[in-house]
Symmetry: C2
Subunit: 367 residues, 2 copies
């Protein structure tokens, strides 16, 4: 059978493995060649039929590739690129999936492959890692940033975008500089701040540990990401050092402005400060697209009575529709309870809504 | 019938209404007299049988009270106290439920009732407000801070603690100063920081709104509390101004230390910073008591197969056990999926565990 495109994957972890599985789901359009330093992972991927060819040391197979994804950490990028380069065709598109883009672009420029390289960063992930955590729907409805400059040939960008759409992700183009500035503000700095808040409590708490004892819901929520891998986040901050420092400088400035307002007891300015934040934060909900890992949730109008969860779950199970979660929810607007159901995917969600409507329930998709 | 204690409630909102309902559940031990500026609320509470006597303008009924709870916002505390004072017996214990304690203690001192006053702050709440949101189990397993100084008579503290235990809450004694320092660090400053992060993104985002578009899960979590009431949080920050400013000063100091580490590219210190935060943050999970609103969750070992949710929900419904939520969960430790079920209370949870064990399922309570 003739495949349309041959894809090379260097690294079969969470991201590389998920790319293989997602592209394999697009019928026989793709032929997938994979390298990983771990031969057991390659064997597993072969037996899953997620990849067609496994390569350990003999890299000549990569000559067949139309596009190569470097799915290794930023610190390993240079080594893996040098290992593969002698085997890549001149027209092969090189892309990566690293968390920062300025650093990787510089590595590619130094290796003299800027014209072949387009940066990539799928904004999807999991707290898990490794091939065993990979899944075909990891990228579904997620943004996938690609970074290019004016010199990047248009047909190469288009080719990468078409592959990204086959992963069911949404390509979003920006410069490496823009990417790193954006992720500094919405990801890297919030991580630093969460860790700062935790360390602040550690420092300020007394021997009675009152703070730790009563650390309330809000504090646990805002600091949850402080539990992430220290090594990973040190790497990210160092790799995006300049942008993270610039963003922290603006935060410092805002923080001291807030302190002045509070010092002066300026009620009006303080209310403005909190109100501006609330209005802007609430506007995120309007951007349905901003939900990285889109959830397939519906809300069903039901009376909150014993057995209602069993009744609805059974009705769906009888139609063979699987659900991920079902529970009573209470909204912020003092509404009565309603039943919320989360499905695996769009298809189950549609089937579920149809089934429940046929039974006379009021149903709507949750935005 | 002889009641053991007569309790006065000034204000029947979320907290006042929940105190009434919770004490009413302790059989006939309590006689409850309530005042509220809204006569409809009083009527509703009377018809719910949550209170025994409703008072609008004629406050002489409060002479019968052994203890009075001031359940009004901090800014209304002085007025309501002055209105009630002429009607209170000299031995009546006065307490409140305000979010800050230094300010309220000063109001009480100025009114010359320091010897009768013990401060209170139940660390339980809801994003909802008003009597219609009140519920008898609001305080279940929550910490309830009481603030007293050396001059506070021991028997008054003991009386308040016994009432708090009847609310099913856990009394925790500290000074007003300690309370305000602790809540500044674990509640007030995190709220300010969440709003700062949101306003930072608003300021730094470009016309393409890339940041808003891809605001990731982590960012949405850490900034969720920025959606709280601007007026409420302005009031809290002003009322606890000194402690909030002191805590923000330490945060500023830590922030600039972090910036130096990053500027210098000190990998070891950066990893230490993130690791310290992770270890300390993870230690919160060990403190089961730190869960303010305790959830009654169990984990059931099941295969993740279609219809399993319906099967389990039906088994519980047949025994008349109501559930709040049921869903497949995946833990961080790469375990297989398991089913998590949330119950309303301890009793349903115990009955649920028994039922599922009898059916041969492996079941454990989730900490």
């Amino acid at each position: 059978m003739k495949h349309e495109l041959t894809i090379g994957l260097a690294g079969l972890g969470l991201i590389g493995g998920s790319i293989a599985q997602a592209l394999r789901n697009r019928s026989d359009k793709y032929r997938i060649i994979a390298w990983d330093r771990d031969s057991k992972t390659l064997e597993k991927a072969l037996s899953d039929r997620a990849i067609d060819i496994a390569v350990t040391s003999e890299l000549t197979e990569f000559q067949a590739c139309d596009m190569v994804f470097l799915c290794v950490p930023v610190y390993a990028m240079k080594t893996v690129l040098e290992m593969l380069m002698p085997h890549l065709r001149p027209d092969c598109v090189i892309t990566d999936v690293g968390s920062t883009k300025g650093d990787v672009s510089r590595i590619m420029a130094e290796a003299g492959v800027s014209d072949k390289y387009i940066g990539g960063h799928p904004l999807a992930g999991s707290e898990k890692s490794g091939y065993q955590a990979a899944k075909a729907n990891l990228f579904e409805n997620a943004y996938y940033v690609i970074t290019a400059d004016e010199s990047t040939p248009e047909h190469r960008k288009q080719l990468l975008k078409s592959v990204i759409r086959d992963l069911r992700a949404i390509p979003l183009e920006m410069t490496p500089e823009e990417h790193d500035r954006v992720t500094a503000a919405i990801s890297h700095v919030p991580h630093v701040v969460a860790s700062l808040l935790v360390n602040l409590v550690k420092r300020l708490d007394g021997p009675e540990e009152y703070m730790k004892t009563i650390a309330a819901g809000g504090f646990k929520d805002i600091t949850r990401i402080a539990s992430s891998s220290p090594e990973l986040w040190t790497g990210i901050c160092l790799s995006n050092r300049e942008k993270v420092l610039q963003t922290l400088a603006v935060l410092e400035e805002h923080l001291s402005e807030f302190c002045s307002m509070l010092q002066q007891g300026d009620k009006e300015k303080l209310t403005d400060f909190f109100r501006t934040a609330r209005v802007y934060r609430n506007s995120f909900a309007d951007m349905q697209k901003s939900i990285i890992q889109r959830d397939f949730d519906i809300v069903v109008d039901v009376e909150d009575k014993p057995g209602i969860i069993a009744t609805i779950a059974t009705a769906l199970a009888q139609k063979g529709i699987n659900i991920k979660n079902i529970g009573i929810v209470h909204s912020r607007e003092n509404e009565e309870g309603a039943l919320e159901i989360r499905f695996e995917d769009q298809e189950s969600m549609n089937a579920g809504m149809e089934t429940l409507r046929a039974l006379g329930y009021g149903v709507k998709a949750r935005v």
